[in-house]
């Protein structure tokens, strides 16, 4: 039954086949057809029309097994409309409280709640932060991590530092390189000293990744560097790729690209790589 209904659901969602099975009655066909139309409209981001279909489904068929799932899509539509973030929050929160809520949609709902709360906070509603902070100790790490990441983007450092314990934990334990890099950059933004401590605590740190990459770029004749940064070596590739286009061009003229610099750094750990560009720009890179 589950298989059949799921397959039917997908088929109907995509609107590409015969909709209902023989067992589905007239009412089922109707609520399912409404659901299918609504999802197709969601796919095309036609929020007002999709919301109309969803509301019709919930009003006409409150006992339908699709009415619960429709709440999730109602949240999607309200969030997409703009200006109705609080209504969207209510819809998602209603969905995650349902007993038969699907785990994948619950995860999506939680992520959307964090996003909406962030938007509301940015628009001036300070109380909206509670919805993010309360998810910092969520049992599901996907939700916990995402809440910490979003909190780190907040300009008010007093609030943003609340994300530090979760971000530090990611740096210490996570294996996914994408998540690791995000957590490192988030910590560099909020609390660089916490990143340093977390890097030093993590037992799996390789010799090079535990080191600090120093980069100074000085324009010709200048003592004060235009760029000055100390970052974990693990972010070296990303940092060097993020250099100004002009700086990258100068390095290229001298035969250096990101890979060559990283390789030379890795080979000669103790020395300073000093590259003088054709325009006199001085690049100093070293690892401690």
């Amino acid at each position: 039954m589950r298989k059949t209904s799921l397959v039917i659901c997908l088929a109907l969602v995509l609107g590409l086949g015969q909709a209902a099975s023989d067992r589905a009655g007239v009412q089922a066909a109707t609520d399912e057809s409404l659901f299918r139309e609504a999802k197709l409209l969601v796919f095309d981001k036609n929020w007002p029309a999709a919301l109309g279909k969803i509301d019709e489904l919930i009003d006409r068929f409150p006992a339908s097994p699709l009415a619960g799932q429709a709440l999730f899509y109602k949240g999607e539509c309200l969030g997409g409309l703009g200006g109705r973030e609080r209504d969207a929050l209510r819809a998602y929160k209603s969905y995650i409280r349902l007993e038969d809520a699907k785990p994948s949609l619950v995860e999506e709902s939680e992520g959307s709640i964090v996003d909406l709360a962030y938007d509301l906070y940015q628009a001036g509603d300070a109380s909206a932060l509670r919805d993010i902070e309360s998810r910092l100790d969520h049992a599901n790490k996907v939700i916990r991590y995402y809440a910490a990441y979003k909190l780190s983007l907040i300009a008010d450092k007093k609030e943003a530092v609340k994300a530090v314990p979760v971000l530090s934990r990611i740096v210490e334990t996570e294996k996914d390189p994408e998540l690791l890099d995000r957590a490192r950059i988030a910590l560099l933004r909020v609390s660089p000293e916490s990143l340093k401590s977390a890097e030093e605590r993590q037992p799996r740190t390789a010799e090079m990744t535990g080191r600090t990459l120093h980069l100074r770029i000085r324009a010709a004749g200048q003592k004060e560097p235009a760029v000055s940064l100390n970052i974990p070596f693990a972010l070296a590739d990303l940092a060097l790729s993020a250099l100004d286009d002009e700086d990258k061009a100068e390095l290229r003229k001298k035969g250096y690209d990101v890979n060559r610099i990283i390789n030379e750094m890795a080979k000669s750990k103790e020395s300073i790589l000093r590259i003088v560009g054709e325009d006199g720009t001085v690049f100093e890179i070293w690892i401690d």
Binding site: V7, K39, K45, H214
Partner: protein, 265 residues
């Protein structure tokens, strides 16, 4: 009384009534005859009245003093201050010479100015040369971190699109030749991509990568459906999904956006 110029003390004695009666009368007659003396007498009288007001306050304060115990108190405090001063000098012998230096407010201000100025000059003019081994704290400017995040967004979006392509191609192959990847694994992959997409949303919006966002959003909706299907799809259903992806030209759009991202945002 001769008509020589009167001293301040004589004026004060006369005006306060301290002189004997005969002398006061003679002085009064002289004053009446001379307008200059009259003006001087008036001025000194005003001064004496003002002094009288101050004297009243002094008398009041003096009345509150216990003159019997005052000498002992002064002696005790003087001795205690001497001990404290010696202790301070002993505690900081290098700066002891300052204790004897009369730090008037102007001098103190000048000294503070010199210290602040020297500190400002140090921080402004010091050459931030390479000081290896001393400067290991992490730091990077907000601008630089923004650029690093933009670079990360570019790479991660590329990665997301490539992985999405694999999942969609798997659906295509499954439609032709039966299931290639177990449905549960396909569902798991779809959920992984949904997680990645959450992080991408923030970056795609922040760095105005609109075209990539529209495409990623469409793929996300498709994966939302796939993530809920953990059982085997029939060839017919897979065929329908394939038709949908073809109709929307999703694979073509993925390739186009990938090309743009590979050549820089």
């Amino acid at each position: 009384m001769s008509m020589r110029k009167m001293t301040k003390a004589e004026w004060a004695a006369f005006l306060s009534g301290d002189r004997e009666e005969g002398r006061r009368r003679i002085m009064g007659e002289h004053i009446e005859k001379s307008p200059g003396w009259q003006a001087e007498a008036a001025a000194i009288e005003r001064l004496l009245k003002e002094t009288e007001a101050v004297k009243a306050e002094i008398r009041e304060a003096a009345a509150s003093v216990n003159w019997d115990t005052l000498p002992a108190m002064i002696a005790d405090r003087a001795l205690a201050a001497g001990v404290q001063a010696r202790r301070n000098v002993a505690d900081s012998p290098r700066w002891g010479w300052l204790a004897s230096f009369p730090l008037k407010p102007v001098l103190a201000g000048l000294a503070a100015g010199l210290v602040v100025g020297a500190a400002a000059m140090y921080f402004t003019l010091r050459a931030p040369g390479v000081r290896r081994g001393q400067d290991n704290a992490y730091y990077a400017s907000g601008d630089f971190l923004d650029r690093a995040e933009l670079e990360m967004a570019r790479r991660n979006t590329l990665d997301y699109l490539e992985k999405s392509q694999y999942v969609l191609l798997d659906v295509f192959e499954s439609a032709d030749e039966g299931p290639v990847v177990p449905p549960a694994l396909r569902s798991e992959r779809a959920r992984d991509l949904l997680q990645k997409k959450k992080y991408l949303n923030a970056q795609l919006e922040r760095f105005q990568m609109a075209k990539a966002k529209v495409l990623c959003d469409q793929i996300e909706t498709l994966f939302l459906e796939l993530s809920q299907l953990d059982e085997e799809l029939s060839a017919a259903e897979l065929g329908r999904i394939r038709g949908f992806v073809e109709e929307r030209q999703l694979l073509l759009k993925i390739n186009l956006v990938k090309k743009e991202l590979q050549s820089g945002v």
